[in-house]
């Protein structure tokens, strides 16, 4: 078996036909992932017992003639900001280096119920803050396409694991582009579903009103299957949606006749020319498939970065307060008193990016600044959402680049936070509006670096988004039109 070539459907078929067992697959996947890990550092740690337990359950079901589930035998990586019972969950932070959660995230429970086998916990930027995966306390992740380059962030590990072929699919999280940007840098599919579509219970919070769990896969179909397995209302998350979860793959028929696409002009300024060319070619292919393309405008886009970095840092400053050295977090050695213990533990524990965001967020929520920053940002957020609502009155989907540039070199932007923040410019709007969006590969630059194309649709219109992505994939768009 070649895990890098396997799809979910193929694994299911093979297991049911007894070509190999889930236990054999898990063993091989674990061997491969551990062997490959030094090249990319995609995993922080492995959980072989848990993977093999899951495999045995799948094999048992098959032996009993039961349905082993849509994700049967899927070797998966889970971003280490998603909690796993009895399996260390570090969030890429020194503060949680030894933290073992007593419960599972809802998405993890649902994924395993569908037959998935978790190989290990994937590397990421500390508390999901970053765009390059260089902010992990457990070392940077290298892009499997070019090990000198970053895989993107913050879900660099899950993206790299799928791209290098050690995991079939993986779970990441996205707050401002943390799934789509690494998907585009690594040349895989990455999906950020509608806010509330997937329960956040067990996703360690960075910015609660923007955090999403979503899938990485090598095919649109696999991404849709994984999302289907984890989506749906969860009593443990008040913000999870009641809307029923449709069968995403049922609508994938290759036809795009009459589908109206909008290209927002604000998203095509200042684009690296090679990236621009790849997107243009991708749009050309969609036209060939029957889409009607028109230019649209999303005027509030210019304010998105400022708006995003106020809201996400404000929420982060509060969400990260619990890592104070009192209980499960690493406590600084022999602190003389309580206040100094807080200072020392947090000072030693958090990396530079977390500190930067905690300070920013604390500032914008402070008495006297709240109205000027946080409240104003919420108003801008409403305008951004309104822009999209108005656009979706005219078009079915919006197509944009994912990132202004392809994967950059490790160390290239780490000392320039502003430059790093600007790399999120095309992805944060989808999170701010809470709409579904995804990155699909659309060929490579001359240097062989993958480029990603973003597809956005209206709230809960994942079926429409997947239909476009799937048709595009079938027409050969991933390799470049």
């Amino acid at each position: 078996m070649d895990i890098a070539q396997l799809t979910l459907d193929r694994i299911r078929e093979d297991l049911i036909a007894r070509r190999y067992s889930a236990a054999e697959l898990a063993t091989e996947a674990l061997r491969l992932a551990e062997a490959e890990n030094p090249k990319t550092n995609a995993y922080i740690h492995f959980c072989p017992e848990r993977a093999l337990d899951a495999a045995r359950r799948v094999d048992g079901k098959i032996a009993n003639g039961e349905d082993p589930g849509a994700l049967a035998g899927a070797a998966v990586a889970v971003k280490d900001v998603i909690v796993t019972k009895d399996v260390r969950t570090t969030c890429g932070s020194r503060l949680l280096a030894n933290y073992i959660p007593p419960y599972d995230a809802t998405a993890v429970i649902r994924m395993e119920r569908a037959g998935a086998m978790i190989l290990g916990k994937a590397n990421c930027d500390e508390f999901a803050m970053g765009s390059s995966n260089e902010n992990s306390a457990f070392g940077a992740v290298r892009n499997p396409v070019d090990p000198e380059r970053v895989p993107g962030g913050s879900s660099g590990g899950p993206a790299a694991a799928v791209a290098q072929g050690t995991a079939v699919v993986s779970l990441g999280s996205d707050t401002g582009g943390s799934i789509r940007q690494p998907a585009s840098f690594c040349g895989v599919v990455g999906v950020t579903p509608t806010y509330g579509r997937v329960s956040r219970y067990g996703l360690v919070a960075f910015a609660s009103s923007l955090d999403h769990i979503g899938p990485f896969a090598r095919t649109v179909s696999d991404a849709a299957a994984l999302l289907h397995a984890i989506a749906g209302r969860d009593e443990m998350d008040s913000t999870s949606a009641f809307a029923p979860v449709p069968d995403y793959r049922a609508g994938m028929n290759g036809g795009l006749r009459g589908v109206k696409l909008g290209l927002p002009r604000e998203y095509f300024k200042g684009l690296a020319s090679e990236t621009g060319n790849r997107i243009e070619a991708g749009v050309g292919l969609l036209k060939k498939l029957g889409c009607e393309v028109r230019e649209i405008s999303l005027p509030a886009t210019d304010y998105a970065i400022a708006c995003y970095y106020i809201i996400c840092t404000a929420e982060a400053s509060s969400n990260l307060a619990r890592y104070d050295g009192v209980r499960y977090t690493t406590r600084s050695a022999s602190p003389p008193n309580l206040i100094d213990m807080y200072r020392a533990s947090r000072g030693e524990g958090f990396g530079a990016e977390c500190k930067r965001r905690i300070m920013l967020g604390t500032y914008v929520l402070s008495a006297g600044y709240y109205d000027a920053y946080y409240l104003k940002a919420q108003k801008v957020r409403a305008l951004i959402a309104r822009d999209f609502q108005q656009a979706f009155e005219k078009v079915d989907a919006i197509v944009t680049p994912v990132s202004p540039f392809p994967a950059f070199k490790i160390g290239e932007k780490i000392d320039d936070p502003m430059e790093m923040y600007l790399s999120d410019i095309y992805t944060i709007t989808g999170d701010l509006a809470g709409i579904p969006c995804m990155s699909v590969p659309c060929g490579k630059t001359a240097a062989g670096l993958p480029v990603g194309m973003q597809i956005l649709t209206n709230h809960f219109d994942e079926p429409g988004m997947f239909r476009i992505a799937d048709a595009y994939e079938r027409a050969g768009g991933f390799a470049g039109a």
């Binding site: 969950t89 949680l96 959660p101 419960y103 008040s238 913000t239 619990r322 104070d324 009192v326 402070s366």
Partner: protein, 493 residues
């Protein structure tokens, strides 16, 4: 903590000043489970056992609002005549403390559950209205245990059982002008919440906690003075004592040419003083913002109407009804409505006896005296209200004298037996039959001619002697009124 009493102002000086008091009252709602998770709220479990990922604030856990807590909070708000907002929001109040595992409390800030209420209190026979600014919901923190462990000099222990217990905070307007008014406000507030069964209001268990904002100003002045927030008022008595102390302290500071500093002060009950806390401990910027993990709380009219209809009669309504339908004095109605149990007892006894005023007297008098002597609550009275009612009915019918009734009641209380049973067993029936009494009176007069002579010659005081003889002959069972009437009739002839 260096605890030393301050210089206090004398009574004459105090008279020149007017205190201004507002209360912030925290009440734990009587839900079975916590406000944002399914953990039990039961008191006294071993430390850190009533906990789960949500109330422990573990990474990734999310709050889900307890509907029952909203119901109780909304009922409390209605009972305080508040307007319940159709949409309110929970908000995060951020601060660091070891017993606050999330690093923030989930409370309400800009849009609380309810606003604009009031409580009417009775002060010196007049009614005074105290405004209720707002009622909002929040979760409780855990408990830091600084004492009682082997290594308590080096460590503080934290118990998170209480963490996530559902609270409401009831904030009053600064409308109170004396410790008596504050006492009356808190009494009325507690009574209403207990009637609603919104909370046990058990201060010992911390189910009712009170902080006071206190300032003073010269009488007639318009501007408020700088206020101190006095915390740790763990009983009604302490509330009054702490306020009186703090008022006298502030007046003395001003009289001495100083200024009152805006600060938080702790009441030290042992020494009956208030002590300023170091300013560092309360210089907080809580950085409130709407809780993104919870949707805005929407309350529909129908739901609210349902709650309103399910509310029991409140103490004020009951008092008014007791005065109106039973002809009780205002004071008696107030005593009898202190708790629902007492009020219900009285009503039953009043109905059965058909004599509410007597029932009121007996409940407040003999019954309370015996209960208090044994430290029993009304619910454990050995005499059922119907039994008391029957006893009083016997008195009304003239079958028992008041004096005998007291003896019978004492027996009832001791044995739990019914009044009629005791009366019959012990032959304590009062003789009211005129023929029967007349025979005895005639007999007494015949056997004491000398005294009859004295009476007729003007020494009417001898009448008491005859009454005594008749009572002796009947073992006290003759109706004294009937005896008197007969004697007058016979001797006057």
């Amino acid at each position: 903590m260096a605890s030393r009493a301050d210089v206090l102002a004398s009574a004459e000086v105090l008279d020149k000043y007017e205190p201004v008091i507002g209360l912030e009252v925290h009440v734990q709602l009587a839900t079975r489970t916590k406000i944002f998770c399914g953990c039990p709220t039961s008191f006294g479990a071993p430390p850190n056992t009533n906990v789960c990922p949500v109330c422990l604030g573990l990474p990734g856990a999310l709050p889900v609002l307890n509907e029952r807590a909203v119901e109780l909070a909304a009922q409390a708000a209605l009972a305080l005549s508040c307007r319940v907002n159709a949409v309110s929001r929970l908000a995060r109040k951020n601060y660091f403390y070891p017993d606050l595992p999330k690093g923030y409390q989930i409370s309400q800030y800009e849009s609380p559950l309810a606003e604009h209420g009031f409580i009417d209190i009775r002060i010196n026979d007049a009614v005074k209205r105290i405004g209720v600014t707002r009622v909002h919901m929040e979760d409780d923190a855990g408990k830091s245990l600084h004492e009682g462990f082997r290594d308590s000099e080096r460590y503080t222990y934290v118990d998170l059982n209480r963490c996530g217990a559902p609270l409401i905070e009831i904030v009053s307007e600064p409308d109170m002008r004396s410790s008596e008014e504050a006492y009356a406000y808190l009494t009325e507030l507690k009574q209403r919440l207990q009637y609603l069964q919104v909370s046990t209001c058990d201060m010992e268990k911390g189910h009712l906690r009170c902080d006071a904002n206190v300032s003073v100003r010269l009488r007639g002045a318009e501007k408020f003075g700088a206020k101190a927030e006095v915390k740790n008022l763990n009983s009604f008595r302490f509330l009054r004592m702490a306020l009186d102390y703090e008022i006298a302290r502030q007046v003395a500071v001003i009289e001495d040419g100083g200024t009152v500093s805006q600060e938080t002060r702790l009441y030290d009950a042992q020494n009956n003083i208030t002590v300023g806390m170091r300013s560092k401990e309360h210089a907080h910027d809580y950085r409130y913002f709407p809780e993104p993990d919870l949707l805005p709380l929407q309350i529909g009219d129908c739901w609210l109407e349902g709650l309103r209809n399910a509310m029991p009669e409140l103490p004020g309504e009951k008092r008014a009804r007791f005065v109106q339908s039973y002809g009780l004095r205002e004071y008696d109605a107030e005593v009898l409505t202190q708790t629902q149990e007492l009020a219900a007892y009285f009503e039953k006894a009043a109905t059965v006896s058909r004599n509410p005023v007597e029932a009121s007297k007996w409940v407040q008098g003999d019954l309370m005296a015996l209960l208090n002597a044994q430290g029993k609550p009304i619910a454990e009275s050995p005499v059922a209200p119907e039994q008391l009612g029957e006893l009083l009915a016997l008195v009304s019918k003239g079958e028992l004298s008041g004096k005998m009734a007291k003896q019978v009641f004492a027996r009832m209380f001791a044995t739990g037996a019914a009044a009629r049973e005791i009366v019959e067993r012990e032959g304590m029936r009062q003789i009211s039959d005129a023929g029967e009494i007349e025979k005895i009176v005639d007999d007494v007069l015949a056997r004491n001619p000398k005294q009859v002579e004295q009476y007729r010659s003007g020494k009417t005081a001898v009448a008491a002697f005859f009454v005594g003889q008749v009572m002796k002959a009947t073992r006290g069972q003759a109706n004294p009124q009937a005896v008197n009437d007969l004697l007058k009739q016979k001797l006057g002839r």
